[in-house]
Each structure stands twice: as C-alpha cells, then as structure tokens.
Symmetry: C4
Subunit: 219 residues, 4 copies
C-alpha cells in the first residue's frame, strides 16, 4: 500500500488524544481521595500528620506511577498502528474502563493497606488492566503486521506483556498468604515497564531494539 493511500484513512491521533485526556483525569482525581482534616494541623503534631497521611500517600504514589507507566508504554504500543479501526477503538475503550477502576482500588487499599481482601482487590484491578493492555497491544501489532510494520521488538514485548500479566494474576491469591508477597509484585511489575524498551531476556534481540525509537516511528 502506498503512503498516499495510508494518509487517506483516519489516523490514530484523535483516539490517542482521548486516551491521554482520560489518563490525565484519572491520575488527578485519585488525589481527591487524599484529605487532611483541619484538626490534624491544629493539634500541631508532625507525627499525627505522617501517620494519617503516610500509607494513603504511598498507595497514591504507587498508582500514580502505574498509570504513568501505562501511558508511556501506550506511546510505544501505538507505534505499529497506522490507522484507526473499530477494533482498535474498542480495545482502547476496554483498557480505559479498567483503568478507570484504579482510583477506586487505590482508595480501598489506602484505607485498609493490610487487609488481604483490599490487597487482592487492588491486584485484581491491576490484572484486568494488564490483560486489557496486552490485548490492545496485540490489536495494534496485528494492524502493523498487515502493513508489514511489525518488528521483532513488538513480538518480544508481547511475550513480556503475558509474563507480567501472569505475575499480576498471582498477586490475587498470594494476598491471602501474605500481603507483602502481593506488594512485592506491585513493585516489581512497574519496575519492569519503567523503560518501555527494556525486556528481561538475553541479548539476541538487543540490536534492533536499541535504535527502535528512531527507526520505527509513525511518519
């Protein structure tokens, strides 16, 4: 297909802007759950502020980083997609639905950070997000494949997606063994996606991946 024909089809711009907009709102409304009652300050004790505020702020920071990582990886994920289709739209909407539950699970975990059920609920929401993210990645990769734009890098990251989705899924039953096992998973998974180009596999694929951002961008 010539580049002229590609230009005539609807681009992915409007769907990406919508995704960014919803993420911007989600990342911000979580902060509405954080409240500091005026009494905390009038008692004037710093330790009371820290005890009240500490766990909620930590969970908020974790969810903030998780959402920021999803946004950064979404930039990478959309690269093979050359144009908008109904399938791409609905997989994006599906991801946004599960992302929209993150503020809720964040508030639940912030209120009861050591309750196994709250930890499992947080893990379940993240698992649903990870599954939805992987399915959207696969849909974008298929579009790129039909155009001959899919490369080794996206094949490898799809395997990475499934591996870390399984890890999230494991955090649900593990919460009833020990909440700290689940929390370790909540820390390991974002770390693995902090740099989207990182894949925890040996080096045969390293060559093409290093130059990817320059070479495979949408025109």
């Amino acid at each position: 297909m010539t580049s002229q024909a590609i230009e005539k089809r609807p681009g992915t711009g409007r769907i990406e802007t919508f995704f960014d907009g919803v993420v911007a709102i989600l990342i911000t409304i979580m902060v509405l759950e954080l409240k500091l009652p005026a009494e905390v300050f009038s008692q004037g004790r710093v330790d009371a502020v820290v005890a009240e505020f500490g766990p909620k702020l930590a969970v908020y920071a974790l969810s903030f980083v998780v959402i920021a990582i999803m946004l950064l990886n979404h930039h990478m994920l959309m690269r093979p997609a050359t144009h908008q289709t109904n399938a791409l739209y609905w997989w994006t909407a599906n991801l946004l639905f599960w992302m929209s539950l993150i503020p809720l699970s964040t508030a639940a975990l912030g209120d009861a950070p050591r309750e196994p059920l709250a930890v499992a609920f947080y893990g379940a929401v993240l698992t649903a997000n990870s599954v939805s993210f992987t399915l959207l990645h696969r849909c974008a990769a298929c579009l790129g494949d039909a155009e001959g734009r899919l490369d080794e890098f996206h094949r490898l990251t799809l395997k990475k997606d499934w591996f870390f989705t399984s890890l999230y899924a494991a955090s649900i039953p593990l919460a009833f063994v020990s909440v700290y096992l689940s929390m370790a998973i909540f820390l390991v998974n974002p770390a693995a996606y902090f740099f989207p180009e990182f894949v925890p596999w040996p080096r045969s694929w390293r060559g093409p991946q290093r130059h990817m951002p320059e070479l495979r961008r949408k025109g």
Copy 2:
C-alpha cells in the same frame, strides 16, 4: 467551491477536541460515584463486596459503553461537516448538556436499580441524548449536503437514528410496566451502534457503506 476556499473557513478541529475533552471527563467522573467503604474489606467477605458493588458496577459499565459508543459514532457523524458554523456549535453544546446528565442518572439507577422511577429517569436522559445526537447528525449532514459531500450512508443512518430514538422513548413508559423491558432496550440500542457502519436494513445500501471510511474522509 474550490479546496482553497474551504481551507480558509474555520475547521471543525477545535469543536471536536472540545467534544472529546468533555466526554473524557464525563466518562471518568461517573467512577467517583463508586465507593467501597473500608468496613466491607475489614469484614473480609467477598460476597459482601460483590453485593455492595455489583449493581453499581454493572450500571457504570453500561453508561461507560453508551458514552463510548456516542463518541465513536460522533467521529462518523462529523465526517460530512466541512467547517464550523454557529449552528453546528450549538447542536454540539446541546448534545453535551444532555450527556452531562448521564453521570447523574447513572448514580440514580445504581442506587435503586429496580425502582421504576429511576429506570424511567435513566431512559428519559438517554432519550434526550438520542434526540440531540440525531439533531446534530442532521445539522452535520446538511452542511455536507450543501457541499455535495452527503452520501447514501448518512441518509440511511439518519433513519436508523430516528428508529432507535423512538425505542429509547418507549423505555420511559415501559419502566412502569416492567423494568426488565426497559433494561432490554438499554442493551439493544448500544448493540445497534457498537459498529457505526452497521445499519439493520437489507443490503441495497451495503455497497457504498463498506468502503466509506476510506473514501469519504475529510481531507
């Protein structure tokens, strides 16, 4: 009219971005209505979480899908419009006003999912949305018609709009007969718009519609 003359008039970009922005906010603030009290988790009973959370989540998911469908169909609807006019702006604002009541009716139905009055209220808000959507579609189609850009596809989808608007209107009185009749309509209508190109009529129009996304895009 030459393409140069068209370029000189204000485009529909700013109005579409504004529409997307409001929709992104509406779709997200509905989730603020979903609250899970800390007690639910400390009691540690999964069935309590499900009983508390189930109906609200189901109604939220329905409204999420309804709004996502309106956004997807809005992309299709705006294709014939070649430039912004005051009429197009005000029909868009009118649609956004009625869309902004969806979070309210969602909260009402989530609180009282079996009350006929709450179901009728939800149906009334969706009917107003459907009427407003059809009127905006007609306004965009008129603009396209003046430019010679209106095609058979948009003439057919306008008839589809009026048909499903009537179905939504029927859900208001039917709620007082049985709330399940209204709920069936709430499921059928989104399904008919899930793929904007789908029209529940026989095939004489199918030919032009299939290639429409490629051929009728705004330059």
Copy 3:
C-alpha cells in the same frame, strides 16, 4: 512584518487548547453538584423529583449556556491575535480564574434561588467574568492592531462588551430590589452573545461583519 517572521513566533494554539480544556472541566464539574437522593425514587412520586431537581437543573442549564457562549465568543475574540505574549497569557489566566468561580455561584444560586444575596453573588461572579472577557478581548485586539489585522467588527464588539458588562454590574444592586430583575439580565445577556456576530446596533457596520468569518481568519 512578513508572514515568515510571524510563523517563527509562538502561536496561540497551546493557550487556546488550555482554555478549552479548563472550560471542558468547568462545564462538567458543575453537574457534580446535582444529586438525586435515592429516597426521591423509592417514594415514587414524580412531583417530588421535579420539585427537588427543577430549580437546580434550571440554574445549571443557565450556567452551562453562559460558559458555552463564552467559549464560542472566545473563538471569535482570538482571531486578531497572531502570536502568544505574556500579556495575552495572563489576561487568559485572569478570565479562567473568574470562570472557575461559576460552578460555586451556580451551586449557591441553585440552593437558594430566591435569596437576594445568592442572586447578587451570582451576578457579581458574572460581572467579574464579563470584565475579564472584555479585557482579554482588548488585549487580543491590540495585538491585531499592531499587525494591522484589527477590523471594524472588533472595534464594534468591544463597545458591545462594555455595554453588556454594565448590564451585568447592574444586576448586583437590582437583586436587592427584585431578584426577577436580575434574572431578566441573566437571560438577556447570554441571548445577546448567542451569535457572536450579532451586534445590537444599526446597520452601517453590517457589510464588513457579514463576511468576517471567511475573510479574517488566522492563516
């Protein structure tokens, strides 16, 4: 100044998008004030819903229209501005500050629609908005004037701005005479701005204004 030199300066795009984004949020968060308690529905009386909901919905609809009108007129207002300056940024921020108080005054008036003080407060917020809008219009007009882009139309609409700002200012003391006098002003003023090209003065200026949207658009 040649068109090449103009292109090198920062455009007004980012500031306009920011304005649209804040307006999209403001217009949406007002709806968070509208609550329908579950009891209203379980009592099953339509008149209770209407009595509870009527005045709040009417005030919300009025504020929605006022903000939509400000957005539409902002599109027109920014036409003479050819590039971003610090002055333009700060007059825009000043307008957004006063616009951000509209949800607050809307909630106040919705709670107490017949209290002179609430009506006066609503009028005071709208007066501050109208003054800020006029000052931003003057700033954009000055930029256009330096570029030789200011036309008769913007000179006339600036006079219109000052006239209707005075009318809003009159609604503050008039609320203590009769709240209905102030409410009449709340209806007349938006009506005068519903079509930005409308100026309530005789026809000498009509010629240039009619073709303005085509001729004076930013390239």
Copy 4:
C-alpha cells in the same frame, strides 16, 4: 544532526499536551474545595459571606497563580528540548506528581491559614514542586545542549531556579518562627516568575534574552 533526522524522532507534542491537560484539571479541582453553605445566604449578611469565604478564596487565588506561573514557565522550559526521551517523560511525571498535591495543601492552608504546621506543609509541597521543576528544566537543557541549542538564557534561568527553590525551602522552618515570613516568600517567589524572561541579575545577559522568544523557538 540534520533537521530531517530530528523530525524522525518522537516530538515533545504529546507530552506537552498531557502536561497541559493535567494542569487544567488541577487548577479546576481546587475550586471544588470552596463551598458556600446555603445558610450563609439565607442569613443575608454580607460580612458572614466574606468571613467564611475570604481566606479560602485568597489561598485558592494564590495556588491558582502559582500553577498558572508553572505552566507559563513550562512553555519556556521546553524550548531547548528537541525530542521526547524516557528521562524527559519521567521528570515531567515527577513534576506532575508534586503538582497534584497542591490542591491538597491549598485545602489545608485554606482551613487553617494561621497554623504553623499547615503553612509549613504548604511550603514543603511548593519546595518539592520547585525542586522537580528545576530538575525537569535541567533535563530539557541537557537535551538542548547535546543538540547545540542551549543558550545563555537557559544557563541563567537554571541558576535562578536554584535560588528561588532555596527560598521556598526556607519557608518551611520559618513558618514556626512566624507564618507571615513564610507567606512573604509565597508572594515573592511567584512574582519572580510572573514574566519568565525576568532574571533578577545585572545586565550582561540582557541582550540575548530580550530577543529570545523569537530566535530560539522550536521549528
């Protein structure tokens, strides 16, 4: 590096739009903290409205100006950055995290404007913001430096950033001496950034800075 090669790398557009979106939401949700109970109006006493509303409105206005200044300076800060990198993304996300705490500290200070602990908390959040802003500025400047795009102006403003960050840091302990000392800093710092081109140092650098907006814009 040729301009063609630069165009092939991902631009900073999507990250800037995301930043603007989050700022638009933050600046707006602060207003949700401002509530005027209906009783205030029915008592009909203007002084009660002012006493209830005055300090909260003043703190809100201060935070509004602080965020508006950060947005305006962010426009200037991003000029040397020629393309998006993971580092730039994460320094932006870090800044947004600390900015997202401003509504919280604003509500705290509005509730207890004379409590040293609330003032110190407000100062601590602004200090974290100032540090994050400076680090993002340094990251963007490094990118510009590698491209040979960094100029005297950005070297000078980085020094300015560190100076005023120290001043914010001083406001934390000073709150326990006198809250008015801290408040003076809260007023001086925004004033120094009101015009991004202003640097409180003697004139040797003035020449290049004055024409900077025209000369150093991204193409």
